[in-house]
């Protein structure tokens, strides 16, 4: 018995750790089927009604729509700007490069509550009404750092000889970028974009300061939690989780299929 225990200790530990990690997700999933009406706290019985009508709760899909719009816009802008910064930092030597590297890193280390509050102070001082666009600006700001760090790692691992080879083979500067550099850095850019989107979609603290009367999905959940979160929030949360899971599994499958073809 004790030998069995010592031999399987690592497995037992792993299972317990995974259970710990996934209890909240499991709870969210289970309660998306709760026949609870407006107060989704106690188990009232199984129903598919929430899944059939995810927009059933008032304003929930308006909030979701706002989150998606803000997410897409800020991902797009942050990915473009961040990629350009990553190339500049990874490829060129210029005065102030190392201090730029440090400054890019700082927003990630700054507490969100501080950034959110100071951004709001800035918008108020500039007499800008907070709303949709101030939220987008705020999200772009904190996403850029993550994009730069992710893409820069990819740019750094790119062999400069490949670009020289392209230029040697009659590709001008634009063609070299288009045909060699960009395709090789693309996986890094895609990873950065996914990261930016999930950061933006998920953000509550900075959004809460700078979004004015606009409601995003996290803000909706926060506000409704005072009276009780509707089960539709669990449906949307579960759906987001499943979509992310699907993307990860699909990526893994494509990757291993490629690896198989290679061998």
């Amino acid at each position: 018995m004790s030998r069995w225990f010592s031999r399987n200790l690592i497995r037992i530990y792993a299972v317990l750790a995974l259970i710990y990690l996934f209890i909240p997700v499991g709870y969210t999933m289970a309660f998306s089927f709760n026949d609870a009406g407006k107060r989704n706290i106690n188990w009232q019985g199984f129903t598919l009604d929430n899944w059939k009508n995810p927009c059933g709760a008032p304003d929930i899909c308006v909030a979701l729509g706002n989150s998606l719009k803000i997410g897409f816009l800020s991902t797009l802008v942050a990915t473009i700007l961040g990629t350009m910064i990553a190339f500049a930092l990874g490829r060129y030597k210029f005065r102030g490069r190392s201090s730029t590297n440090l400054l890019i890193f700082l927003p990630m280390a700054t507490p969100e509550i501080v950034m959110g509050a100071s951004l709001l102070a800035m918008f108020v001082n500039l007499n800008v009404n907070t709303g949709f666009w101030t939220t987008v600006i705020a999200h772009i700001m904190f996403c850029i750092s993550f994009v730069v760090v992710t893409v820069k790692a990819r740019v750094a691992s790119l062999d400069p000889k490949l670009e020289e080879a392209a230029r040697d083979l009659y590709a001008n500067e634009y063609q070299t970028f288009r045909r060699v550099t960009f395709p090789l850095v693309l996986p890094g850019i895609a990873a950065a974009a996914l990261l930016a989107f999930s950061l933006s979609f998920d953000d509550f603290i900075i959004t809460n300061f700078n979004s004015g009367t606009i409601t995003t999905f996290p803000k909706f959940v926060w506000i409704s939690s005072i009276r009780g979160v509707p089960a539709q929030a669990n449906v949307i949360g579960t759906a987001m989780f499943l979509i992310a899971l699907f993307i990860v599994i699909a990526g893994q499958l494509i990757g291993s299929a490629k690896a198989k073809r290679k061998s």
Binding site: L162, A165, R167, L169, Y170, Q175, V180, P183, L184
Partner: protein, 366 residues
């Protein structure tokens, strides 16, 4: 798109090329003509400026001063993609995201060629890798990648093909095979090959002409045989094969033969092979030219006695002896293992002898 391929033909000329990186002079006032259609090797130790020279010809570096010409066309300041020059990079630099076919077609497509199938198929057949055209570079072995790198360059029919240590990453057996193959491809396509290497054997196997570079300058240029038999500097004598260089004093240098004194022994050499005009010279003789005999045996014309064998190593085709002379200098002697090998053991007293015409003399300071 600018295309010089048709207009620039002829010899490659480097005129007074200098390349400076901050305080370091990589290439120092280099002037060189590489005849069209030749297989030319730039040989030298790492850091001698050979790769920088190659990169300037490719257009990947710009010379600090001087000019580069192909025939009558000045290409000093043209972009790499506007030069009729292609490079085989040291680690091949194949595009990992493209298939072998697309790698080879890359240059043709960039020059706006629509139908690349025939040219690509033909060059892949030349390097015998047509069956791998749909693979990615990561799925190929080192030798196969090397051949694709060559194919990707020569498919463009450049006026000049540059090879930057192309065989450095291969193992010895494959390297030998590729040396022969590259030489064959060069004769087949008739393109000028400029090959940069630090491997003297590789340069001698493949090149028609070798330029030995040291510290940004060319020490000596010539055919492999010329460089080996008539090294003009101490550096060349030591870099191409092994040389025994012994300090000597010139006694007479009238007429066809020069006579020098080595620690009391009189050594003769053809005056034409004395490149020094000083009285103190370094007398050189290649290890395989020397006969080794036990003390007291009859010796040839040039002989040095009083040596003691300090080491013997058997390397298959030859036996290598290390002999310490009375003036404490080690001299290398290679004897063919053709049955006539003398029975000599470590510690034996020996006499070294060789024919005067195998002897050369160099300036001692260089």
């Amino acid at each position: 798109m600018v295309d010089l391929t048709s207009s620039a033909v002829g010899d490659l000329q480097l005129r007074n090329i200098t390349k400076r990186f901050a305080d370091f002079v990589a290439v120092d006032d280099l002037t060189l003509t590489i005849p069209k259609g030749s297989f030319f090797a730039l040989l030298g130790p790492s850091g001698c400026g050979k790769t920088t020279t190659l990169r300037m010809i490719a257009g990947l570096e710009e010379p600090t001063s001087g000019s580069i010409h192909i025939g009558d066309t000045d290409i000093t300041h043209t972009k790499p993609y506007q030069r009729p020059v292609n490079t085989v990079f040291q680690n091949y630099a194949l595009f990992p995201h493209l298939t072998i076919f697309e790698n080879v077609a890359f240059g043709l497509r960039r020059r706006g060629m629509k139908d690349v199938d025939e040219a690509v198929t033909k060059v892949l057949a030349l390097v015998e890798l047509g069956h791998l055209k749909d693979r990615k570079p990561g799925q190929l072995s080192g030798g196969q990648q090397q051949r694709i790198a060559v194919a990707r360059a020569i498919v463009n029919r450049p006026a000049l093909l540059l090879l930057d240590e192309p065989l450095g990453a291969l193992d010895l057996k494959l390297r030998r095979q590729m040396q022969i193959e590259l030489k064959w491809i060069q004769t087949e396509v008739g393109i000028t090959f400029v090959h940069v290497t630090h491997d003297q054997e590789e340069a001698m196997t493949m090149a028609d002409t070798i330029a030995v570079m040291n510290k940004g300058k060319i020490e000596q240029m010539g055919s492999p045989v010329e460089l080996y038999e008539n090294p003009k500097t101490v550096f060349v004598a030591n870099f191409l094969g092994q040389s025994n260089l012994i300090e000597a004093t010139v006694q007479t240098n009238s007429g066809a033969e020069t006579s020098v004194d080595i620690h009391g022994s009189r050594i003769l050499l053809p005056s034409s092979r004395n490149t020094s005009s000083k009285s103190k010279v370094l007398v050189g003789v290649r290890p395989e030219k020397i006969n080794i005999q036990t003390e007291g045996s009859s010796a040839g014309k040039n002989s040095l006695s009083g040596g003691v064998v300090t080491d013997i190593s058997f390397v298959g085709v030859s036996t290598q002896y290390q002999v310490e002379m009375p003036w404490k200098q080690e001299i290398m002697v290679f004897e063919q293992n053709d049955g006539g090998a003398p029975n000599i053991r470590k510690g034996d007293q020996v006499t070294l002898s060789w024919e005067p015409h195998f002897t050369f003399a160099l300036d001692s300071e260089s």
